[in-house]
Symmetry: C2
Subunit: 475 residues, 2 copies
């Protein structure tokens, strides 16, 4: 057995002193989540510069029997990127220095990038060759590719382009024993045995450390048509989605829902944001179409579909973006929700998905369920309606939160009540945020014994010593 | 240990006499592949009616230590659905009686079907509610959903809709110990631990028996624009694909390539097929656009793009389908290749994929490679160019084949030479057909030790007694 200081010394000699952080102030940004709610302990933070260095780190840690926790941009909404406060302190492997765009193939529509690349940098590199990397989400300016892969990140364009999983062609991974698996392939089709990359996508670092990926690119849409409208209720919003799917099939790229309370928080709390419509309404939808072609016909399709929806009594008011500036302003309202909610109180973010057809029943059922526990609680709703993924957020004022006799168990009870409604409708408690720390009790509660047993068998097969982010993902 | 006759007796008592076939004439269609090239041995063929019966079969076989081989429509092109001629005779589990469409949700765009449903029946059930199940391939009238899942089938619409893997939302699987895993979910997003369904897709029955699936549906395109044209060469075909992607982005649904020799075989050997163009050309492409909307603009996009391609000297001749009858006739030419090739000689079908950008280099390199072995060999080429998947088929006349001193090793050498070219270009030897029996030597040869070790670890974890289709997929 190697002691901690010997391990740190060997990591320093392998990576250089500058790449191994041990002092508390240096580690502060790595052990606490961005909302400041979760703070853990780490033995040290290492910052390897390449895959060989990651492999060295894993081998040194394996030798010492010390666990590893890989970290990207630390933007997890469920405390997935930071260590636990208790348990053995891991070595945090920050991938931030591995941020090379290794290769772009515009004809094959693929890009090979290192895990530490910021999502926005990958989007930009793709756009430079008139391609689109479609994964898009609030944290795109700071989250890293490795994190988006390890959590199978969703976002606002899943409806058209799928989750991160659907946009990865190949991976490079350092395995639990320090071997490097080079699975970087730029192929649309490859049926040669078990599709190993699927195991690491969404595994939150429990099976290995993703160090690079080959990602799928798409044609870059050059024209967008966007509208903001007030549906009568979620059921009406669903029917309008159906109209759009019939009329403008392949061009729908976003269909985002929020309730009045969510819009109000954005307008009140984020400078320069305002209600896009003249009056208050209970529900709001942002719909966007996009294409690579000149958009006259697409604009017309948007307009006609909205007229049809208004005519059918499904929509109360609507505004169509007249140009790219207006379009950007409407997207900014949508993208401001995290900022708005962060300081507005204590929001218990949930991340359920249900079949798209069940979204109205989910919203109704969840509202009833949480109000049975806290009758007057504020409910903030924002979500990706086209994917059936609704963030239903019971929100306390700070005063109300601090006045609770047992805040933690009230929070758990509220989350559980929302998740229960999703499960009754064939849904899930985690659609796109992953498990992290907050989701672990839900994994135990909701997953069937046969599923948990399979996951444990796979974990045991690929990480028999349980050193890769132990205690996470599978309880 | 239970002997064979006791096992058969217990299977009969569990499933009924009619559902257990033991006589050679009854088993004939299950132990030989559809081209009559591979014939194996089986202990018996069982035809369970539901998932509980499949579980019973697995438990009885596990108790007796007898291996299982699941079978769908027996349309594998690499002898994947029939047992080996040597080795212990398995119980063949035919899923053909499990062919219920359990549930269709048009709003959620999902369908739950049993494994024995014929692909065409699923396409039809989707179309009845104005939806599309996009997986489409030559054998769709007889192949079964379970087989398409177990081989991650590709086909002609992967370019737009992805492989079978991208179109499955949930699975029901009988595991190696006879437990039933109900993973039937109709969700677009579900990040709750390892995505277990990914393990069974493409596993060719080695990890469990898929008994049902929830599949993703899409908006049903109501309008199609199709053209058949002669590109100057594969490089020109690639540049025209680029033009289509720029001009008609989201609407391209097929981009199929064939060479003159392939077209000639179709025209000569299949009744009513003819060359769509007035003259002979070296290369042919079928391109199709589709959308849910009225197609005037789409027709124009097709027309303009082809004019641009002709103007740039990339295309020698072109015909645009004027109506649905002409469109169907052009598709029939494409869909007739298997029939045409079957009796034309001994074709050594290969199934390589390379990055789309490398398709011309692949065709050139493979041509050179096989002609170094058999200088005057016929080369038939047909493939899904938009996916980088080209079936490069060295073809012998029957006389030439029977005149070979060692046909088997000549065949292996030719296949290997083609696959080598693909690998040099970052490609794979199996894009969409799977491994079956013919691909096993290639698995040993091409897959890295680290990949094979991971696959073996997973197999060991989920099927520790090695009873699920042993000896397949991972050599």
């Amino acid at each position: 057995m190697i002691d901690d200081s010997a391990l740190i010394a060997s990591l320093r000699s392998a990576l250089g002193n500058h790449a191994v952080l041990v002092d508390d102030p240096d580690m502060a940004g790595f052990v606490e989540d961005f909302r400041g709610r979760y703070k853990g302990r780490a033995l040290c933070v290492v910052q390897p510069a390449n895959v060989e260095q990651v492999a060295l780190v894993v081998r040194h840690c394996a030798q010492a029997g010390v666990p590893l926790l890989p970290q990207g941009g630390n933007t997890s909404l469920c405390a997935g990127a930071v260590p636990d406060a208790n348990g053995p302190a891991p070595v945090i492997v920050s991938l931030a220095r591995m941020r090379r765009i290794r290769h772009v193939d515009a004809v094959n529509r693929s890009i090979e990038v290192e895990a530490g690349c910021v999502l926005k940098a990958v989007q930009d590199a793709a756009a430079e060759v008139q391609c689109l990397y479609p994964v898009s989400l609030g944290a795109e300016g700071s989250c890293q590719i490795g994190g988006t892969l390890s959590t199978n990140a969703g976002g606002t364009s899943v409806l058209r382009y799928g989750n991160t999983r659907e946009n990865v062609l190949g991976l490079e991974v350092v395995l639990a024993d320090g071997r490097i698996w080079n699975g970087l392939r730029g192929l649309r089709k490859d049926n040669t045995g078990i599709d190993l990359k699927q195991l690491f996508v969404g595994a939150e670092g429990t099976l290995g450390i993703i160090t690079a990926a080959t990602l799928k690119l798409h044609a870059l849409p050059t024209h967008h048509s966007l509208a903001w409208f007030a549906p009568v209720d979620p059921q009406a919003a669903l029917r309008v989605l159906g109209l759009f799917q019939e009329n403008c099939g392949a061009q729908i790229s976003a269909y985002e829902l929020m309730n009045e309370r969510q819009l109000q928080l954005v307008v009140e709390r984020v400078p320069l944001r305002r209600n896009p419509l003249a009056q208050r309404h209970d529900w709001h939808v942002l719909v966007e179409l996009s294409d690579t072609r000149d958009g006259a016909e697409m604009d017309e399709c948007l307009q006609q579909t909205l007229e049809e929806a208004v005519g059918a009594g499904l929509v109360l008011d609507v505004i169509v973006a007249a140009n790219d500036t207006q379009r950007a302003a409407l997207w900014e309202v949508r993208h401001s929700v995290t900022e708005a909610n962060k300081g507005a109180g204590v929001g218990l973010t949930t991340d359920c998905a249900v079949p798209v057809s069940a979204v109205p029943a989910f919203i109704e059922g969840a509202t009833q369920a949480v109000r049975e526990i806290v009758p007057d609680i504020d409910i903030v709703i924002v979500g990706h309606m086209g994917d059936g993924n609704v963030h239903f957020i019971p929100m306390f004022t700070f005063d109300a939160w601090h006045g609770l006799s047992d805040a933690a168990s009230t929070a758990s009870a509220l989350r559980r009540s929302v998740n229960d409604v999703a499960y009754r409708l064939g849904g899930t408690f985690s659609a796109e945020h992953g498990i992290g720390q907050t989701g672990l009790p839900e994994m135990s509660h909701y997953k069937s014994p046969v599923e948990l047993a399979m996951m444990r068998a796979i974990k045991q097969a690929l990480d028999p010593r349980n050193l890769m982010n132990p205690g996470r993902l599978v309880p």
